[in-house]
């Protein structure tokens, strides 16, 4: 079965986020009352797996092995079955 994974990798709180800070500054220049911007990455993965549980486990493994560096990154995983 094929599963759609949405893996969201974002910066852990406490680390400075130059991209977010620069974006926030410009949004304020454009007139928005922006307090804070945090920038992350989304990986959309189409994965072959037998069960939802297995797909989740594999996604977690992908984060640990490649997609996130635990020093600075948090990650969130959403798994959807394809129809």
């Amino acid at each position: 079965m094929k599963y759609r994974l949405k893996i969201h990798v974002s910066l852990k709180l406490g680390h400075s986020d130059p991209e977010g800070e620069t974006t926030a500054r410009l949004l304020r220049e454009l007139g928005y009352k922006v307090e804070n911007v945090s920038v992350g990455k989304v990986y959309r993965v189409l994965l072959e797996a037998d069960t939802t549980k297995e797909a989740e486990r594999k996604a977690e493994e992908m984060c640990k092995r490649l997609l996130a560096n635990p020093t600075k990154d948090d990650y969130a995983i959403v798994v959807e079955e394809t129809k």
Partner: protein, 271 residues
Amino acid sequence: MKRADIKICLLRVGGTNCDAETKRSFEALGAKADIVHVNELVKQRNLIEYSALVFPGGFSYGDYVRAGAIWAKWILAKLGKDLEAFVDDGRPILGICNGFQVLVEAGLLPAFEGVSQQPEAALANNVRGYSCRWVYLKHENMDKCVFTWKVPKGMVLRMPIAHGEGRFIFPKEKEKEFLKKLYDNDQLVFRYCNGDGEYAEGGFPENPNGSFHDIAGICNPEGTVFGLMPHPERAFYWWQQPDWTSKKRMQEYGDGKLVFESLIDYLERKG
């Protein structure tokens, strides 16, 4: 080992740079240096024939995911055992710029308790974006690092940096603990400073990327694996400095030579 028998492996992959300058630096000191594409190394499985390994600078695999991450995980998957044997045998590994990012992502640095499964540090995006400039570095290592043992402690060196992701950080909750480990194990090698040797204390442009504790380069607890963001091969000759013609005293070599010389002399003495 005789100098002429020393053979250095300079790895290459799509997006690496300055491999030619690095090769020339080693050859100027009388050692041999081969530029080897990683696919060739995977095919030949002959890493152990080399006296030392260098991951050069650049933007391997387009810096996708995180700078150095893809190359690090790729090489662990394909050559993990060979690399482990190389490190266990005490053979030196140097990571310059992108190479430093690879060593951190591969868990070879700081490697407090040996090679780590997951990175214990990160080289995050610079506080002020991509930066290409000459910086000053203060040598902090006592005598552990085989790439700087010829550099007196406290000496100020000048080299260029050129990167967008060089902000060395530890996990926030472990900053103090890990910094203490760096000092206790004599793993700190270079810190950013000004021309007089005063630490940058995070100030731009002396600290060009916002690195924690002004860290520019560290080694593993054994001193055999060393990574730094600045490019020593771009400061090998005196005339590589942008303002060399206005210098009062002319010399033949720049400060980067000390890194290559330290390694070659170490290998020569090691036998």
